[in-house]
Symmetry: C2
Subunit: 432 residues, 2 copies
């Protein structure tokens, strides 16, 4: 395709959806991408820009002429412009802001004044409002007369004279009601507002929990300042999940496949370093029992099994706990019940696998006491894993730390230390 | 609250959103829940039932009288009824189906005929359609005349005489256009259809990728059979994420906080068992070097560090790969580039932490050759971890296995075996 044939390129790419073109741009190699952008600059519109991931987007923006860029951005709703702008450097931001109409520029600047990852950054300014006392006919006539309605809107928000939102009407209800019906007689009872400073994670939770399609955003004085639509909330939900997953694995949560090797290595080194420290801590426990191992090398062979099983049981409990905290299924209401349940699960699986491992070790090494020691050590480690797996995320949450981010190292430290200590300690006491 | 005061209960719970009541029911203890249901049966409506999670829902449904249940279900859209029914046993299903109107019952039965987790199960039958050649005025008059419109709808779908969907118009465009504008002049270019047999995971992907709000569902003959709305897609997206996260940690993907202790223990035992086998495999590697360890106990102290670092590096790469496969950012197009990148990241971090660990081991045990051995072993293990972390999920995906489900055990086996083998093998060759 990239045989310099710009015409052919245009006819191939033009019918595609912006999201697909963005995917294509992300997946081809950097050299091919540069070539494509050189051949097809006029093809890049605002929609493609907002679909691109950060790293690639910067690259694309730098390659575009100011005119093309200005044209591309002008067609977007304010929330999409904000989304593009917030990842850019100050100089580039100014260049892009300069390309906007005055009204849009002011709206974008106001949105940027809200903290990052807040509802204010997520909302679009374009809102369809109607006074509380209008009827359906007035609303329809108004909408027909307004020139620029938002790209996507699903509700008409009713406001009082001081712009405080009072309720909303779905477009479906507006359309299916007679012209003389009063708007405030057909409002939805699901109406709620979000304060512009609320974190976007809470916004996603509210949309998902209450099945909202759009939600009015108000300022500190309860006045309407914008609206968030479900597609933005779905996006945040998706990002939050990705963050949780990457954080739990100790990967930088902004990581993406288009990062360079150095960026990717750096993003993972932090948690590898933490893991190194906890692994050394576990080794110190082992080295305290060096004499014991010296007398029975079977201990060295078996001890990683105890630690590995404990680590896995701990990760299981931790994942359930982190997830339940994120979905708010685990609260102070039911915490005690959940902790007891996890401890019981740990004890049961500890007994099952302790017994199994005792049988295996007894058969393998033919030392009955060694079998007893590894069995008991497994039970203890599983219970410690369950306790650590649930208490550590809950504790971190209480201290305002994201449990997904920091639980992993703490939990494995607990299971490794308890595992090695229980196994080697019991062995040195019972076997020697 | 539960001091038998039914009136007080009613006044407290009635103003709450169904989702919040469901949360409350999930979080209180089983005894309190039974008591509450006995006191307040008439409060349970269909919306609360669809918000409840499976285990609790069965409990609640069993406690309700057939009349209350029938009344509760009758108000729901077909997709929500299907959602409740599909988790129930056959006898209960019949009871509930019997409570529905004839038309609804047929619709629900048709939906249940589609495979589980398909678009057909997700869609609602209630659709607003208009012939292609209508104008805005005709559409509005039609909507005003129809008695039962769906609870939520955002588009009017244009169909040809054989019910094949041709495009859709947003309600916003209908409202803002003059009555004589033809519907097919204001259709959206984002229109696409989903085949009813497509898996729901693909539905969620399409909604998220193309920012859809609703999407027409067609049968094998391309005829319109229903519509899926974004709130259902958001729900699926959320569930898919939860599944991925739980699967990666080796927890049964249907696990929830309301499972009993036995259910929870069973759901985790499977993967603990797999882990036991892989841990034993790693131990066999160690036991092959028992003689070496016997001669230098420092090896037993240090070997868990090599395995632990390798395991973590492998999990990092694996998580990035599983996530990228799920979002379809990792395709056969860019696979080779991503594999090379991961190998390079592994090599870089391997060198950094290998060097660091060599310094620590040298200082700790004062044996220069031991420092060299652990350093080289760390580099090799990190590269193996990177290779395993990316190739195993990709391989599983190719063979049609969910990479989130099965990658974990394979990757840790690779890192453990390579880690122990490299470290102990190098040690026995270089040190003794």
């Amino acid at each position: 395709v990239d045989a310099q044939d710009a015409q052919r390129l245009d006819s191939l790419l033009d019918p595609l959806h912006a999201a697909d073109i963005a995917d294509l741009l992300e997946q081809i190699s950097p050299t091919v991408r540069r070539e494509l952008l050189r051949l097809w600059p006029e093809g890049i519109d605002g929609d493609i820009l907002s679909e691109l991931e950060e790293g690639i987007r910067e690259e694309v923006i730098e390659s575009l002429s100011p005119d093309v860029l200005a044209e591309a951005v002008r067609t977007l709703d304010t929330d999409d412009v904000v989304d593009i702008l917030e990842d850019m450097e100050a100089a580039d931001q100014d260049r892009l802001l300069g390309a906007l109409d005055k009204a849009d520029r002011v709206a974008v600047e106001q949105a940027l004044a809200y903290p990052e990852y807040s509802a204010g950054r997520l909302m679009q300014r374009e809102v369809v409002v109607a006074p509380e006392d209008w009827n359906v006919g007035q609303a329809i006539d108004y909408m027909r007369s307004v020139e620029t309605l938002p790209d996507q809107f699903y509700h008409v928000i009713l406001v009082d004279p001081r712009m405080k939102p009072r309720g909303y009407v779905t477009l479906g209800r507006v359309l299916s009601s007679r012209r003389d019906v009063l708007l405030h007689d057909i409002v939805e009872d699901s109406f709620r507002t979000i304060e512009a400073h609320e974190p976007e994670a809470d916004v996603a939770y509210i949309f998902n929990h209450y099945h909202l399609i759009s939600c009015a955003v108000v300022d500190a004085h309860d006045r309407l300042v914008g609206v968030i639509t479900i597609d933005d909330a779905m996006n945040v939900l998706d990002e939050e999940h990705e963050e949780d997953m990457l954080r739990m694995a100790g990967v930088d949560d902004e990581a993406s496949l288009s990062d360079t090797v150095i960026e990717a290595a750096k993003g993972r080194a932090v948690w590898l370093f933490v893991n190194l420290l906890t692994a050394i801590l576990a080794s110190l426990v082992i080295s305290a029992f060096a004499e014991t191992i010296n007398q029975m090398v079977a201990l060295a062979v078996l001890m990683p099994i105890v630690a590995s099983m404990g680590g896995n049981a701990g990760t299981q409990t931790m994942t359930v706990a982190v997830r339940a905290l994120a979905t708010r299924d685990l609260t102070s209401q039911n915490a005690l019940r959940v902790i007891w349940r996890e401890a019981a699960v740990g004890a049961i699986n500890g007994c099952i696998f302790g017994l199994l491992m005792a049988l295996i070790a007894g058969w393998w090494f033919g030392i009955p006491m060694l079998a007893v020691v590894i069995g008991v050590a497994m039970v203890l480690t599983h219970i410690a894993a369950a306790a650590g797996g649930i208490l550590i995320p809950m504790g971190l949450q209480r201290f305002g730390v994201d449990p997904a981010l920091a639980s992993g190292p703490f939990v494995t430290t607990v299971t490794d230390v308890v595992g090695f200590f229980a196994f080697l300690g019991l062995a040195s006491w019972a076997l020697l």
